[in-house]
């Protein structure tokens, strides 16, 4: 598995798209800091971008990589290599190279700007950690979609739909249920609902760490009480990990049975 991981990883590292992705984040970080001159404001803007863009890129890249390297995969399958290690290796190769682009791309400008001397370092680290988690989650989901769909067009549409659902539609449904049930106490419901969507979970985790959380008022206080404690943080990190582990397990299960 490690060999395949290494191969996929270096294959991707050498590819043009990783560089474009890395450069994009580098540029983004620089421009944000240049325009804002303020680390905490830059972190807020960055959060907006990360919670929408990272899942999108993770999904598209994952699906694309799977379909592109299909012939190579089939070649590998003819060798005496464990099936699961082929797919998990490929998955990790994609996910890790994407997370690396994210972390290096954003880390360099912020580090140069004097992140280590500022108080924002924990917020920024949280941002990077959730960004990496989102990459891992959405790449895994993308691999799942690709494994289930031989048809490329179908696979791509499902992938985009998945992103659309998680990033936009889910919040719409969430909003509607909150409005419909407004006469009931909604604290537990809203905490529960955020747990089921990694994008929402990451958004709230970061939001509560920033001083903008004061805007959230009473609801924010409820969330702060839940997520602000060590227990809440551990719980949300474990939910995020669960979001990684479950799809990966499914890749493992599906790849063993799949007929090529």
């Amino acid at each position: 598995m490690l060999k395949i991981l290494k191969y996929s990883f270096f294959d991707l590292i050498r590819s043009r798209w990783s560089y474009v992705y890395l450069l994009f984040y580098l540029l983004l970080g620089c421009v944000l800091l240049f325009l804002n001159n303020d680390l905490s404001k830059a972190v807020i803007t960055l959060m907006n971008i990360i919670i929408t863009l990272v899942p999108l890129i993770g999904t598209i890249f994952g699906v694309m990589y799977y379909y592109n390297s299909k012939e190579f995969t089939e070649l590998l399958l003819a060798q005496p290599v464990k099936r699961s290690s082929i797919f998990i290796g490929q998955y990790l190769g994609v996910a890790l190279s994407l997370s690396m682009s994210l972390i290096i791309g954003l880390g360099i400008p912020f580090a140069l700007y004097g992140l280590f001397q500022s108080n924002e370092i924990w917020d920024f680290l949280l941002l990077l950690v959730t960004g990496a988690f989102l990459t891992l989650i959405f790449t895994a989901l993308a691999f799942n979609i690709a494994l289930y769909n031989e048809n490329k067009i179908k696979g791509f549409s499902y992938a985009i739909l998945l992103w659309l659902f998680m990033a936009v539609i889910y919040d719409g449904l969430f909003l509607m249920s909150l409005i419909l049930l407004e006469s009931y106490p909604l604290d537990t419901l809203s905490i529960g609902t955020t747990m089921f969507n990694p994008i929402d979970l990451s958004r709230i985790l970061i939001l509560l760490k920033l001083d903008i959380s004061a805007l959230l008022g009473y609801t924010g206080a409820v969330f702060q009480k839940f997520f602000g404690t060590g227990f809440g943080l551990v719980l949300s990190i474990s939910v995020l990990s669960l979001w990684v582990i479950l799809p990966v397990l499914n890749i493992y299960r599906k790849s063993r049975k799949k007929d090529f």
Binding site: V168, F174, L178, E182, S190, L207, A214, L215, L216, F223
Partner: protein, 413 residues
């Protein structure tokens, strides 16, 4: 003509000399014959000056019952040893100048103050430093006085067992100027006090409000700084208050605001700066208020309107980078928005008259939803919210469609 001028001078000099002839100066110091302020007051005649030399005087319940000038030299310390009230003024024409008063007693039944003025006219309290206090300067049913250039530094921890820095109760025509007030419950508190002028004060780090009005009319406050208080300024149940050129800064927290207006009529809010407050102005049931030339910079909400507010005018303000410009909870709008600059305005100006050709709608759909169901705030900064805000901006359905600035400025003031 020359004769009249000369005559005037003679009169002035005569008055001056007679004043001087009668007024004596009594010196108080630790090693003098008179070593306590109380003794000095007992000895003094009306109109005398008591000069207090540097030193520590352990005294409390000092009653000033005749017109006197009590002047400290190099800030003598009056230590109340937490026994109770320190100075009580019950006579007209009293001046207190340059004292350092500490350790006012805390009581839950009577409001002990460092300096209390009771039913007296023409008082002047200046250059006084107060520390470790319960109430600072308490003006009670006293008119025509001045509180100038004092420093009140409290160490309040909880709202229930702390007092106010400067409190005016049933007092008229008082000037409160250039004071610095920190870490008390309310920096300056006015109750039933009319025609008060509050000028160039600095009120910071207070537990509750920087400045608090209750049932007080026709007051003016200008050029003050309110920073990092539990909430900046609360104006409640008062009429015709003028608020000009003040700075409200960093009143940040889940229940904080820069300025609260509750049941206020006919006020004027002009030229103030609101910077980084959770809610810059929170308005409830306030009518006929003119908001002009204010700067709202990086607040959570610039203006949050709750309840019936009619016939207000918002003009020539700068709204810069607030999370929500206006939050409004009713569908009826009777307020006028004109000639404001909105940093999130995206329209164009084809006829180059400096005003945008497309009206600006300051109420976002999301702020409307949050007003209805507060829990939905949890969706803040989600992509979905940006999308619905955008569609509402294009064609308003839920927000009041006449709540708009028809003449938004293209450049900030």
């Amino acid at each position: 003509m020359k004769g009249t001028v000369l005559y005037k001078w003679i009169v002035i000099i005569t008055i001056f000399l007679t004043q001087f002839a009668f007024a004596e100066t009594i010196t108080v110091c630790i090693s003098c014959n008179i070593s306590s302020l109380k003794d000095a007051i007992a000895l003094a005649q009306a109109g005398d000056t008591i000069l207090v030399k540097k030193g520590t005087y352990k005294e409390y319940n000092i009653v000033v019952d005749k017109p006197l000038i009590i002047k400290g030299e190099n800030y003598p310390v009056i230590d109340g040893e937490d026994q109770g009230e320190i100075i009580r003024i019950v006579s007209d024409n009293v001046t207190i100048d340059g004292l350092f008063i500490i350790n006012v007693g805390t009581s839950y039944t009577s409001d002990h103050a460092a300096i209390r003025v009771v039913r007296s006219e023409n008082f002047l309290i200046q250059n006084v430093v107060l520390e470790k206090l319960f109430f600072g300067i308490y003006i009670e049913k006293s008119n025509n006085g001045k509180i100038y250039h004092n420093k009140v530094i409290g160490d309040a921890q909880d709202e229930y067992n702390s007092g106010n820095g400067i409190q005016l109760w049933y007092s008229k025509n008082v000037v409160v100027e250039r004071n610095i007030i920190q870490k008390v419950r309310d920096g300056i508190y006015l109750e039933f006090s009319d025609n008060i002028t509050i000028n160039e004060n600095t009120s910071i780090n207070n537990l509750r409000y920087g400045l608090h009005f209750m049932f007080s009319n026709d007051d003016l406050y200008t050029n003050n700084i309110f920073e990092n208080n539990g909430a900046g300024v609360a104006v409640m149940f008062s009429k015709r208050i003028k608020m000009v050129n003040n700075t409200f800064r960093k009143n940040w927290g889940t229940a904080a605001f820069g300025l609260l207006l509750k049941e206020i009529n006919d006020a004027e809010i002009r030229g103030n700066v609101f910077e980084e407050n959770t809610v810059a102005i929170k308005v409830e049931g306030s009518n006929r208020i003119v908001y002009s030339n204010n700067n709202f910079i990086r607040n959570g909400y610039a203006i949050k309107v709750l309840g019936a507010c009619y016939a207000n005018t918002f003009e020539k303000n700068n709204f810069l980078y607030n999370s929500f410009d206006i939050s409004y909870n009713s569908k009826i709008n009777d307020n006028v928005f004109q000639h404001n600059y909105w940093s999130s305005y995206t329209g164009y100006d084809l006829d180059k008259d400096g005003l945008g050709d497309v009206p600006y709608r300051p109420v976002k759909l999301f702020s409307y939803i949050v007003n209805r169901t507060p829990e939905t705030i949890i969706l803040m900064r989600s992509l979905f919210i940006d999308i619905i805000d955008f569609s509402e901006k294009v064609s308003p359905v839920f927000t009041p469609d006449n709540l708009q600035d028809m003449t938004p400025k293209m450049k900030r003031y």
